[in-house]
Point group: D2
Chain length 359, copies 4
């Protein structure tokens, strides 16, 4: 399928997606990844063997929220969504077949702990998975004896890089997602969009850029000090260079955030305290791309790597998807450097002393 | 309708309820209530006149979450739910008419800022309201210049006292609610049940007791220190005697809590950090009524007034509903005092030094 | 020495005490105590053998802040203060000899990691120790990889039960302590006094009651959520019955607090955020014993055991000191029950629903 | 006095300094400064008139911690320390007279609320003030009804820019200050030193650079979230460009920090949670200037303005002191850019994606 033609709306209703549920990451050094996700971030090991580790957050009751699978090239093998009923897996299969996508159905699942599933190469080139059947495990919400000071309690969202955000948005709206916030300019360019199924700001977001690539996967903590502890701990371990950006307060989503890079460079966000979005008329917030508080409410600079680097995603054969360049202007180009600009107060031309103004 | 016969399941599907959205409280001294809810708790005034004050939490975008209406007797005039579509108001009307309930429909709404609504005297005797049309107001989520140190960000839930919890639970399940947690004993008595529409532990709960009465209405903060600040502020104002119970950690819901009593004695909970419940197979947690950590995870005592006192609810003429006594054992009786018992560790007969053991 | 005659002021200047530095607790089950202080509270083991465990808080650089020593009877063997110079140990010895106290000097110290020390049976019957020489160990302040969610960072203070508070206060003032806060009534009875050397509210406090006994030893956390985590963890471990009182906000000291009881019943406070008191004219705060916010700013009840129970202290032979009864009225008697009263607002006779009013 | 010759040690003992107590800032727009310090930061106004505003933090009991005085040029008029006794003011006068410094004594004080004081042009060119007599005002520690979400509770420290740090350090050690931490390189250059009288990491620090200038004045909050709220509030007010650096965790001091710039460019730090330093053998921590976690434990970049910009200080006639250039290497030059380097792990040459590596 071309990456620029509009994606048709299937004739059938989409599967009823509950929420983003799990990501499968291919990692090149399983021990190094285990140290990062288990020893440092404190995710809970549900199950592991020599090839894969299945991890979950403290409040989760399904088998896992993250699979680390050993492989030759760091990439993302699946963005996995849970659907409302077993029949929704059938619907998902039919929906993507009608879209002409490559589809693979496995009644025994693609990962331990998960049953009947379908994986697709979606119209944007991402490996999307849909499942209902899943093994229940202990919800450790009350196990404060196991909580570390930076405990991760929920998988919150995915973030995907795609060249044409409106095209992707339209496809995801057909799939039942609703936009909660986006970033635009006054020329009509959309730079990013946040889209939800569960009643938070997003289950996934589309970030404009060369894609398909995975921008980040995000886990929630209860409070802001939990995120600060993760930074403090990384400092104590002399791994502060895994902190890519933050901590800070997002403009978009109003959440408190931190971005880390795992040993393979996969980006992980730690996130807390966005808002309820479950009403159908939930107001959409559109941010001006030149508003310097959109990405960081405090106006702190976004490091260039955050805009440019992302993880490969795999096709159903396990090969990295070809990355297509974005044609629209890049958010980085229009906001920083000689040709871009950002304002703290609309119409104000002050630049100030921040690093972001000097790049 | 009798209060003991089962409530029939209507032939039509129930309205699609989004969430608990607002409560209308009748208060006897509007100025005193304004001081409590606005000056102390910091709820935002959307609109007010000499007879009523419309308040909302910081992250809300609908007109209000609480109406304080001046009246002769402290009571609750409405438990108001938002439904997904305008047509769901029609459905609600038909649904309750089939149940034989008294129903009143007002296309102009019962409260400012709300449009077409239906109010009913529900089978349990509560004044339930359903609406979709509502005036949007500014979501103040980003207005940290207005946040106080104890800012309330969302209406979280209602809590209703009813004599026969299983009867009420069955009715609410028909209405589309799902149980997330409950308290039982090994004799099969249910003491309380938590029921949700949105993806939190509850939109409303049923507490076994003489009813129909309103046990409490709950607002959320972002973090625990916000709740502690409210206590500290009440101390500074020499109003610490409005703190009825807490702060503490609930066993049920795993949330951090505080119970206050407003100038009329209406109970208000401040609440933070329960967990996601949106999956259809979300595990139900059943607590043993004798588990001393069910109501307070730290085993701190529940003050008797919390079990026995609650607010009257009004019928559609504005008269207090007659209160019917509970036949089943009371949770207070079976857990404290000479005839009750509670344990920290099942099978352990230690009593310890806590006040709750001495009552 | 009689327990009622005034304690003379020695002719020589007192030793220059820096701070409360360590307590030596005799415990009857070393493994049970280790579980409590190390596994649950997370104190750091500097050194241990089969008879004793030496523990410190995360920001400490001296060898230990707590010694758990195995013994036949639970008691306190030493309240240990650090002095400014080696010569101050000589001064301390001379000072107490002039007071006629029993004194024991050991150049090799009484505990591992501590050098030249003097222990005394002080005029109030407490085993006070003074030392300067001490082994330095790593200050783990930056070791966030080792911090648990409820990390204890400093030893903050001792609290001693003595029958005659003014008599003890005068003695401690001679010793160089300064009163920061106290509780009195309008009959001139003093119920408690807080006294400091370092610039916090106290290094030790005197609580009126049958004594000499040890009321509690207190450790600090950085923030309030650390204390809440300790409660949550105790709940998860089904040890919530070790929580005796709190968490809450003190009136006196303005600190956030929690009281626990260790396996031998020794009381431990977890404490955070009192204020700077280092100026010589630091204002003394006197609280009315009938002010219901003095002990808990939120007016939550003080459990009777907190008033009545305390640990034995040992003489220099290791035998428990005889406990002398308090002649003055007890704080519990004058504030709760039929013969006592407490107010939220001075002059107000409201009682409210709190448990404390019903005892 | 030359700025390079050693400063002699006076023959008399120095005054007994308790703590940094107040700074007098000259501001060019009193209304703008009031908005910043009162409306935004929430400092408490003790007294004000058309020319000056006297402010204090919530836990303070002396008249003020900050004076904003209207003047033609933004500068610092006084670094004011409180001494232990009235006689220490005499000692301070004699001490500086012996040093050959210009000295001015005013029995009525230089600022409202303060009595007998001496101001000096110290050997480093800074306007130091010493006083004991001061008007007591209400300590608002318990007035949680007045606390905002980002409440400042104490003045914590000053920070001074001076060309020759070892020379300044020696002078301040003579004056009774003790070093707690410093930054050096392996060539023996000292870049900064932290020095204390009260038992915290510092009452003042010396930062190597062109001086005498004032680097910043710091106020404490209770917890980290208070600092985050200040950032969030500045975002809401569209004043995020007043955030110069942070929030972050310092390596030096281990405190959580934020740097703001007031309307005149005076730098203000918000600071919380350093550690107790009151023992005479408190371990000094020396940081390698190339350690990228020394200034920010998370390795986040220090913005160039933070190294280069600072406030003028006034002589006793109210004229700005001449700024002398630093001869030693600058910390900025040796750590960032083509000629400098910083490491996360000693010996590691990785640079990573942080902005600080790209400047």
């Amino acid at each position: 399928m071309s990456t620029t033609t509009p994606i048709p709306t299937p004739s059938i209703a989409p599967p009823d997606i509950l929420r983003c549920a799990s990501m499968e990451l291919v990692v090149t050094d399983l021990a190094a990844s285990r140290e990062f996700y288990v020893d440092i971030l404190g995710l809970v090991v549900t199950e592991e063997d020599e090839n894969a580790i299945y991890l979950r957050a403290f409040e989760e009751f399904i088998h896992h929220n993250l699979v680390l699978r050993k492989g030759p090239v760091a990439a993302v093998a699946a963005f996995s969504y849970r659907v409302r009923t077993p029949e929704d897996v059938d619907v998902a299969e039919a929906y993507y077949r009608e879209l002409g996508c490559r589809v693979e159905r496995r009644s025994e699942g693609f990962a331990k702990g998960v049953g009947d599933s379908v994986r697709v190469e979606d119209p944007l080139g991402f490996p999307y998975e849909f499942f209902y059947a899943v093994e229940h495990v202990e919800r450790l919400a009350w196990r404060y004896d196991l909580y570390g000071a930076g405990a991760l309690v929920r998988l919150d969202h995915f973030n995907q890089v795609t060249p044409d955000v409106p095209r992707g948005r339209s496809y995801l709206e057909d799939l039942g997602f609703r936009v909660t916030e986006d970033i635009q300019d006054d020329q009509g360019v959309t730079y990013a969009a946040w889209m939800r199924r569960k009643s938070t700001v997003h289950d996934t977001a589309l970030t404009g850029g060369n894609g398909p690539r995975m921008h980040h996967v995000a886990f929630s903590t209860h409070e802001k000090h939990n995120i600060i502890h993760i930074c403090d701990k990384l400092g104590a371990l002399r791994k502060s260079d895994t902190i890519e950006r933050g901590p800070g307060r997002h403009g978009v989503s109003n959440a408190f955030y931190l971005y880390l890079r795992d040993p393979d460079g996969h980006r992980v966000e730690i996130y807390t305290q966005d808002y309820y979005t479950g009403d159908p008329d939930n107001p959409v917030v559109t941010w001006d791309v030149h508003d310097n508080q959109r990405r960081d409410w405090w106006g702190n600079p976004v490091v260039p790597s955050w805009y440019t680097e992302a993880s490969f995603v795999l096709d159903l054969d396990g090969n990295p998807q070809k990355v297509v360049e974005r044609d629209d202007p890049s958010e980085m180009a229009v906001t920083i450097g000689a040709d871009g600009f950002s304002y703290t107060r609309k119409g104000d031309s002050d630049h100030g002393f921040k690093l972001g103004n000097t790049l």
